[in-house]
Structure formats: structure tokens, C-alpha cells
């Protein structure tokens, strides 16, 4: 299957029709997704109709957009109007949003065809896509292992070459971690770069939508389409969107890349360490300068993250009460029973755990000790990045401490699962952009990711460096056995 860029080029050149591209994609989903579990809904008829429309407009000479005819899969916590938006939760089973997310509108107006909605951990809460209410997403490199999460469906689908590209959402690593686990590229943009309008909120101050792609060029292409100010999201930032694709060839000679020992401490798997260090060497050979930096408050990032994210989640998920939409219990005795039974039946264990955690940390008498303290720690973590970016242009690190773990290994141990986010949450807490790029395989042949992060709104620099890295390595070209 072609990449997004290749598909767009082929469609523009008339070598491939949009209908062909979409047909190939939905056929691949039908053929292969049964064992992967990456996809929750496929809208074959709607997608083919949209593709046919694009072909007709292209034939009439219309300039449709930079990704005309490119099939895109969208994480199922992003609202689309032609298919359900379930957040992989029982409470939203069959729910169809009456409005489309800003990113969905931007994709469609740039000519993309939304072909499928991808699997995720319920309400994006998890690191393995095992907490999906429907089925887990498996890792195409090893079906006994997790695809990561929460955007595990998007990552697995791109890795398995059943879609050219996808959108995910990243609250604490939910794009980058599954991208690392499945050997694809995942970008979390700066907070405010992409509109959250239509993204079902998990941690509102942390959530960002971003691309999951085969290579950095595709990530740049998709980001150029989805980034930009949206008046419907008060936290979206009004500043120009660079042409990220055009910036990719910016050389990295003299680029200062920070390496923080805080990211390479205990718990980091040897194979991951080796691969990331090799990646750093490659960047140095290409002309980048490696500089040691410190992020002293990084060790508090996980604790801070799980207070802030769960607090916001407990509030964001209060609306799923069985009154207005979503799952409602049968024959409630009274309004209290309607609430409690609908929520008990509609939510899975991980979601309930986080709602309880978040409710606790916001409760009177605990707020100062937990939530307020977490906000102050968050300021310190942001300060760490500000200080580090005084000295360096990018910061490099592993994405995950290990490669993909076996399905079921951590699902009974929430804390172990939370620690899988150890290197990714800080970018969300600070709001900086960060990307995961494939940098090798471990002894079991499982992909490893390298993370680069950049100062706020420096996605162009981030993507250029990652692209330069890919131009001298071929890790991103490996794919799982069919």
C-alpha cells in the first residue's frame, strides 16, 4: 500500500483514482483486520461515494486539496457525522455525533476520504488498547502483543498497511507510544496547534490530535492539513501554519540536540537504550550536536500526569449519565439509580478507576494535597523544558522503556501500565510537540521508537530533523510480515 504522500501524488497525476485507493484500503481492512482489531467501523459505501465525488471533481479540473483521494482512518474518539463515534466505550455504543470534529472537516475539505474509525482504549484511557469495550487491538508485528495505546488501532492499522495514514489523540503518549510499539511515526503537536473541537475530551488541558503515519513526510503532510486556528476551541492558537512538507529538507547541521540523563535511568530496557543511542549517533553523524541537559522534575511527571489527567477526566466524563444520550440502564428505580446503574453498566474498569481517582483528587480536603500540588509540579516541568530549550533546539529520548508487551501482561496491574507512559507524559504536561520515529528492532524483532521533542510551535524544526534522520536510516521502511 502506498503512503499518504504517494497516494496523493498518484491521484493528482491520474495514475490512481481516489476510488481505487479507497477500494484497496477497505478491501485490506476487510481482509486483514479480523485478526488485528484495529478498526471499529468501516463506512465502505460512504467512503466510495466520497471517493467517486473526488474523482469526478478531479476530472472536471478542480484543484481539490493536498490530500485529494487519500484514505484516512480516524480514532474513534474524534467525531465524524457519517459513522458512529463510540470512544470504544459501552456507554457510547452506536452513538452518532450530529457534528464533525474540526480535524474531520479539514481532512474532508483537503480531499481526504475518512474510511474507518479506529480502536482505542476506552475514552483513550490506557496504554494498550486492551480497555476497548469491544476488542483489543493487536500488534501486527506479533499478534500476541499489544499495539500500545490508546491510539493502538490507528497505529496498528498504519503498521499493517491496511490504511495509508491515520489520526490519533495524545493525552500522555497515546499517539507516540503505540507508534513506537508498531514501528510507525506518531506526532503529538503543540497544545493549541490543532483544534480539539470534536475530540471527545479525556484530559482537556493535555489532549492533542495528531497524525499516525508511515514516515515523517506523511506526518508533515497531515499536520499541514489539520493544524490551524479554530474559533470553536478557545485553547486553539491563532498563528500561521507553516508548510511543514516544504520545510522538511531544512538541514540539521549544527542543530543542538539535548540528551537528558533523566530519560535514560533505571527501568529502561537495554535494547531500547541501544537503539535510541544508535539513533542519536546517526543524528550526530549527520551534523547535529549532542548536548547534555537536565530535566530535574521529570521524575514527577507520571504522578503529576495521573492527577491532572484523571481530575479532568472525572469531570469530562460526568456527562455520560444516561439522561441525554448514550447507555441508559433499564428500569431505573429513581434518578440516582438511573445515574449510577447507567454509569456502572456503561463504563469499563479502567475508566471507573480513573473517574474515582480524579474525583478523589478534586475532593474537598484533598484538592490542595493532590490537584493543586500537581498543577505546581506541572509548572516546574514546563520550566524544565523552557530552561532546556534555552540551550538546545530539540530534546531526544526513548518513547517507551520497553517494546510492546504481551496482551494481558499488565492489564491486571494498573501501576505497571501507567509506568509505560514514563517518557511521554512530560510533553503533554509542558505542551511541547513531540514525535516518535522508528529507530530499530529488539531481539524479538519488535519495533523501537525514538522520541524528539521541540519548543512550542516548532513542529517544522521537529519534523525536519526527524525527516533528516529517516533520510539516512531505513527503520521506518520495515514492516511486519503479512
Amino acid at each position: 500500500m502506498l503512503t499518504a504522500t504517494e497516494t496523493a501524488d498518484a491521484v493528482r497525476a491520474g495514475r490512481v483514482s481516489a476510488r481505487d485507493a479507497v477500494t484497496e484500503c477497505v478491501d485490506a481492512i476487510d481482509r486483514s483486520d479480523g485478526k488485528i482489531g484495529a478498526i471499529l467501523h468501516v463506512d465502505r459505501d460512504g467512503a466510495l461515494r466520497a471517493a467517486g465525488d473526488i474523482d469526478r471533481r478531479l476530472a472536471e479540473g478542480e484543484d481539490i486539496g493536498p490530500i485529494a483521494g487519500v484514505p484516512v482512518a480516524v480514532k474513534d474518539n474524534i467525531c465524524t457525522i457519517d459513522s458512529p463515534t463510540t470512544c470504544a466505550s459501552g456507554t457510547l455504543k452506536g452513538y452518532v455525533s450530529p457534528f464533525a470534529a474540526d480535524v474531520a472537516e479539514r481532512l474532508v475539505s483537503a480531499g481526504a476520504v475518512i474510511v474507518a474509525k479506529t480502536n482505542l482504549d476506552e475514552f483513550a484511557m490506557g496504554s494498550s488498547t486492551e480497555s476497548s469495550a469491544y476488542f483489543p487491538a493487536r500488534n501486527p508485528w506479533d499478534m500476541s502483543r499489544v499495539a500500545g495505546g490508546s491510539s493502538g488501532g490507528s497505529a496498528a492499522a498504519v503498521a499493517a498497511r491496511i490504511v495509508p495514514c491515520a489520526l490519533g489523540s495524545d493525552t500522555g503518549g497515546s499517539i507516540r507510544q503505540p507508534a513506537a510499539f508498531t514501528g510507525v511515526v506518531g506526532l503529538k503537536p503543540t497544545y493549541g496547534r490543532v483544534s480539539r473541537y470534536g475530540l471527545v475530551a479525556f484530559g482537556s488541558s493535555l489532549d492533542q490530535i495528531g497524525p499516525v503515519t508511515r514516515d515523517v513526510r506523511d506526518a508533515a503532510l497531515l499536520l499541514s492539513v489539520i493544524a490551524g486556528h479554530d474559533v470553536r476551541d478557545a485553547t486553539s492558537v491563532d498563528r500561521p501554519v507553516p508548510n511543514y512538507v516544504a520545510e522538511l529538507d531544512r538541514p540539521i547541521e549544527g542543530l543542538r540536540i539535548g540528551v537528558a540523563s533523566d530519560y535514560f535511568g533505571a527501568g529502561l530496557d537495554d535494547a531500547v537504550r541501544t537503539a535510541v543511542e544508535a539513533g542519536l549517533d546517526a543524528l550526530r553523524e549527520r551534523g547535529a550536536e549532542l548536548i547534555n541537559v537536565r530535566l530535574p522534575h521529570l521524575k514527577y511527571a507520571i504522578a503529576c500526569y495521573y492527577v491532572v489527567a484523571t481530575a479532568e477526566a472525572s469531570s469530562n466524563l460526568a456527562r455520560f449519565d444516561g439522561v441525554h444520550y448514550g447507555h441508559r440502564t433499564a428500569d431505573p428505580k429513581d434518578i440516582f439509580d438511573l445515574y449510577s446503574a447507567s454509569r456502572r453498566e456503561g463504563f469499563g474498569a479502567e475508566v471507573k478507576r480513573r473517574i474515582m481517582l480524579g474525583t478523589f483528587v478534586l475532593s474537598s480536603g484533598y484538592y490542595d494535597a493532590y490537584y493543586d500540588k500537581a498543577l505546581r509540579v506541572r509548572t516546574l516541568i514546563r520550566g524544565d523544558f523552557e530552561a532546556a530549550f534555552e540551550k538546545v533546539d530539540l530534546i531526544a529520548s526513548p518513547v517507551t522503556p520497553t517494546t510492546a508487551f504481551p496482551i494481558g501482561q499488565k492489564s491486571a496491574d494498573p501501576l505497571a501500565m501507567y509506568l509505560a507512559d514514563i517518557y511521554t507524559t512530560s510533553a503533554n504536561l509542558a505542551g511541547v510537540p513531540a514525535i516518535s520515529v522508528p529507530c530499530g528492532l529488539d531481539g524479538d524483532g519488535l519495533p523501537i521508537g525514538m522520541q524528539l521533542s521541540a519548543p512550542w510551535f516548532e513542529e517544522d524544526r521537529l519534523l525536519a530533523a526527524a525527516h533528516q534522520y529517516q533520510s539516512i536510516t531505513d527503520h521506518h521502511q520495515r514492516c511486519p510480515k503479512q
Partner: protein, 494 residues
């Protein structure tokens, strides 16, 4: 203990909700509209649908600042939004976007002259929040939710407990209502719930040389000034009686309560104790950014403050010589007061304009169920009419008749007076002739006036009235009066 053994005083503070007169809701573009078909004024944002996000209505924020400034509050240079969590079917997100620890306005005072006294309360804070929808229980076996009201902007004003009588509370609330309508920040229609008062009431009781305080009760959602007064009067008595019956009925030993007002029975009704107070789990709203207000912003809003009702009344009394009652009538709403000032600016003498406002413009407006300002008569024409009376061109009776015609005609009062034949006769000979006729026809009154000085004044008034009558309203009353007095004083020539 008997009631005669104690002294007590009332302590009242207020929470007041004012629905702001914006066209759209606080965080979405839906129309704010009363009485529309249920759920027809809703969108994903005010329905709280997954993925929808709030965006602040700038106008609501400006109106709130205006109100804060008019109450002498400071405007916070940075203010923020917080989520207040509780579950209720008409609260679609199960949290309300409000302001918790950094309200947009704080630290003001609202003072109302009342007779020779001043009713005054310090304003603790004023903050913006979204209203909830409505749960309707009219249908047997089910409850229905209407979210048209959900997301309507509310300004919540909180006072210190500085009010010490039901009468003062009534005065305070009435004047605050006038202020918000005057500023145009709210239609404040009480029947529609656009302004709701929640007095917090308790009583300080002196007995045995000690002071006891009763628990505070908050009477919810009062929507008339009368119910404010009655609910406070009732609570005052109830709390004193409850304390007399049970000396343990004191603050902190017994819970504070929420109570409702039963207007038919004239009683407050227990709703819930506050010992089980909600934990609202306030935390900063991550979907909205902080609002930064510069000094220049505040100055600009302050610039937009009109002359407020209280100083305006004072000016009309002190500068225009109006009585307190007339000033109150004229300043009752802003359009009327503006019309008054306009009429005076157009050359109408203030005392005559005010007489006409109170005498016939108010009546004409009342008959039509509107305010004087809404009669549709331009200030300049009102001023011209008053000037005509003052100059003697027409008399007061004629002015009243012309005023009625002015409602339908756009002609000048001059032209109307001409057309209606009401231009006063200033001709002394003609007037003397009418006086002669009247003297001839009313010998008894003339006799009384001459022989009995006590009756003289009344007789002059009577005779002048007769002159007006036979002249068809055209006589100039002043001239007629002078001629009558002169003739009565003159030596009899018969």
C-alpha cells in the same frame, strides 16, 4: 424564655442572579429566548455533547464588568473559569461553568437613599456563570428536560449581610433591579425569572446579656420584591420563635438550611439542611483561557456607564427643583429619564416638563401599559409643549388635550394647538369680557369673595375655572386670575 425577655435584630445578605440581556448564550451562539419550543434553542455546546467546547461570549463579559463598575467594584485584571460539579438532569455536562476563587468583580458597595436614611450593602463579588436548563414534572410518570435555558449567562451578585430589615431589603432589591435595567445589562423580568433573589437570613438575639445567632437560612429563587419582603419578615419571626422554643437553635449547632417560599401560604418551607453540603469539586475550566482585563479595557467600559439612577434623581431634585416623588417617577426607567432630560434640553422648563410627565404623560403611558419613554413622542416635542404652557401660549388643560393628539400625530404642538383652536387668548379685552360674564352669572360667589376674606381664595379659583369653561379652554388662566383679583379688589362702582 419569653419574647419580652429578649431583644433581637435581623441580619440579611443576598445572592442575586441576573440574567444578562445578550442575544446569544454564554458559551455558544444559541439564542437566549423565553418561551420557545422545548430544546429548540440548543446546539452541541449547550447540550453538552461529547467533543463540543465552550467559547466565551464577549458581550456577556462586558455587561458583567459594567454592572460591577456601577456597584463600585474592582475588576480583576485576570479572571478565570471553574467547573462546579453536581449531577442534575437539567445540567447537561453535570458541571456548571462558573467562577470560583477569582470572580471578575469584587469589593463594591451599593447605597440607596431611602427617606432620610441610606440603605447600603457591601458587594463581596459578582461573577459570571451559565444557567441550567429546566426539568419539567408536568407529565405523569416521567420528567422532561428542556435545555433552552441551559447556557444562558447569569451574573451572580453576592452581598455582605449588611441589610437589617425587610423594608430595607425591599428598597435594596428594587434599586438593584432598577440599576441593571438602567444599564441595559438585563431585562430583569421577574416573572420570567430573569432576576432572582436569594436572601440569607439569620437573627442576632440578646438574652441574659449574651448574644445568640440563629442558623442561616437561604430562601431560594424569590422572583418578586413583595416575596422578598414577606419571606424575610416570615423568616425573622420563625427564627425568633424557633429559638425561643429551643435554645439550641443556634448557628453551628444546627445546620444552615435552604428554604423555599410558598407564596400562597406566605411561609417558607424547609428544603434541605446544609450539613450534607455538596462537595462541588471546583477546579479550573481547562477548555477556556483566562480573561485578562487591562486598565484601558476597564476605562473603556467605565466610559460607557450612563448617569446612574441615584445620582440622576439627586440632580433632578437639586438642579431642576423637582420633588423627590416626581424625580423618582421620572427616573424610574432610563428611557423616560432620557426623555425628560431631552425635553429640558429642547427648552422645556424643568418644573413644567416634570408636571406634564407626572400629570398626563405618565397617565397616557399607563393607559397603554408602557413607560413614558416608550410612548414614541420625541423629547423636543415634549419640551416644546412645556414651553408653550410656560409662555402662556396654551394652558395646562389644553396641553393635556394636545398631548393626547401628539401620540398619533407627528405635527408640532404649535400646529396642533392652532388646528385644535387651543391657542390661549392673551387679549385683555376678550378676557375681561369673559370675566364680566362670569361675575354676572355668579353673584353669590362674587359676594362671598368680597364679604368673606376666608372664602376669597377659593372663590377666585372657582371663578377662574368658570372663565376657562366659557372660553372653551382658550383663556389664559394667569391673566384671567389677575383680572378676577383686580376686579374683586376694585371699589364697587354700582
Amino acid at each position: 424564655m419569653k419574647e419580652s425577655d429578649i431583644t433581637h435584630r435581623l441580619i440579611v445578605g443576598f445572592e442575586i442572579h441576573v440574567q444578562l440581556a445578550t442575544r446569544s448564550k454564554l458559551f455558544c451562539g444559541c439564542a437566549v429566548e423565553f418561551g420557545a419550543a422545548p430544546n429548540s434553542r440548543t446546539c452541541p455546546v449547550c447540550l453538552g455533547l461529547p467533543g463540543a467546547l465552550p467559547v466565551l461570549n464577549r458581550r456577556a463579559f462586558e455587561l458583567s464588568m459594567l454592572t460591577g463598575l456601577a456597584m463600585g467594584c474592582d475588576i480583576a485584571p485576570v479572571t478565570k473559569w471553574d467547573r462546579k460539579s453536581y449531577y442534575y438532569p437539567d445540567l447537561p455536562k453535570n458541571y456548571q461553568i462558573s467562577q470560583y476563587d477569582v470572580p471578575l468583580a469584587h469589593g463594591g458597595r451599593f447605597e440607596v437613599p431611602h427617606g432620610d436614611e441610606t440603605v447600603s450593602a457591601r458587594i463581596i463579588r459578582a461573577h459570571l456563570e451559565e444557567d441550567a436548563g429546566k426539568t419539567l414534572h408536568d407529565t405523569p410518570g416521567c420528567s422532561l428536560v428542556d435545555l433552552n435555558r441551559a447556557g444562558t449567562p447569569l451574573l451572580e451578585i453576592v452581598t455582605e449581610p449588611d441589610i437589617s430589615s425587610a423594608e430595607d431589603a425591599h428598597v435594596f432589591c428594587t434599586e438593584l433591579h432598577r440599576l441593571v435595567t438602567y444599564l441595559g445589562v438585563s431585562h430583569a423580568n421577574m416573572q420570567m425569572g430573569q432576576m432572582r433573589f436569594e436572601p440569607n437570613i439569620n437573627v442576632a438575639i440578646e438574652a441574659d446579656g449574651r448574644e445568640y445567632r440563629t442558623p442561616i437560612s437561604e430562601v431560594k429563587n424569590l422572583n418578586s420584591f413583595r416575596s422578598v419582603r414577606r419571606a424575610i419578615e416570615f423568616e425573622y419571626q420563625r427564627q425568633v420563635q424557633d429559638w425561643l422554643a429551643d435554645p439550641g437553635y443556634v448557628f453551628k449547632e444546627r445546620p444552615n438550611e435552604n428554604r423555599g417560599w410558598d407564596d400562597d401560604r406566605g411561609v417558607t418551607v424547609f428544603q434541605r439542611g446544609k450539613e450534607a453540603a455538596h462537595d462541588y469539586r471546583y477546579f479550573p475550566e481547562p477548555d477556556l483561557t483566562q480573561v485578562e482585563v487591562t486598565r484601558a479595557d476597564v476605562a473603556e467600559i467605565r466610559e460607557g456607564l450612563p448617569e446612574l439612577p441615584i445620582p440622576r434623581r439627586r440632580r433632578l431634585i437639586e438642579d431642576c427643583g423637582l420633588s423627590a416623588d416626581d424625580a423618582a417617577t421620572i427616573v424610574s426607567d432610563r428611557a423616560t429619564a432620557d426623555l425628560f432630560d431631552g425635553a429640558v434640553r429642547a427648552g422645556g422648563p424643568p418644573s413644567t416638563v416634570s408636571k406634564q410627565f407626572v400629570n398626563f404623560w405618565a397617565k397616557l403611558a399607563n393607559d397603554r401599559g408602557v413607560s413614558i419613554g416608550a410612548l414614541g413622542v420625541a423629547a423636543a416635542r415634549m419640551g416644546a409643549l412645556a414651553r408653550m404652557v410656560d409662555e402662556g401660549t396654551i394652558n395646562a388643560t389644553a396641553a393635556n388635550r394636545i398631548a393626547e393628539r401628539m401620540l398619533e400625530s407627528s405635527e408640532s404642538p404649535d400646529a396642533l394647538a392652532d388646528a385644535m383652536g387651543l391657542v390661549a387668548v392673551l387679549d385683555a379685552d376678550q378676557t375681561r369680557e369673559w370675566v364680566d360674564q362670569v361675575f354676572a352669572a355668579n353673584e353669590k360667589a362674587v359676594g362671598d369673595a368680597v364679604s368673606n376674606p376666608k372664602k376669597a381664595k377659593g372663590a377666585v379659583g372657582f371663578l377662574r375655572g368658570q372663565v376657562m369653561k366659557i372660553s372653551g379652554g382658550k383663556a389664559n388662566p394667569k391673566l384671567a386670575g389677575e383680572l378676577i383679583e383686580a376686579r374683586l379688589a376694585a371699589p364697587r362702582d354700582d
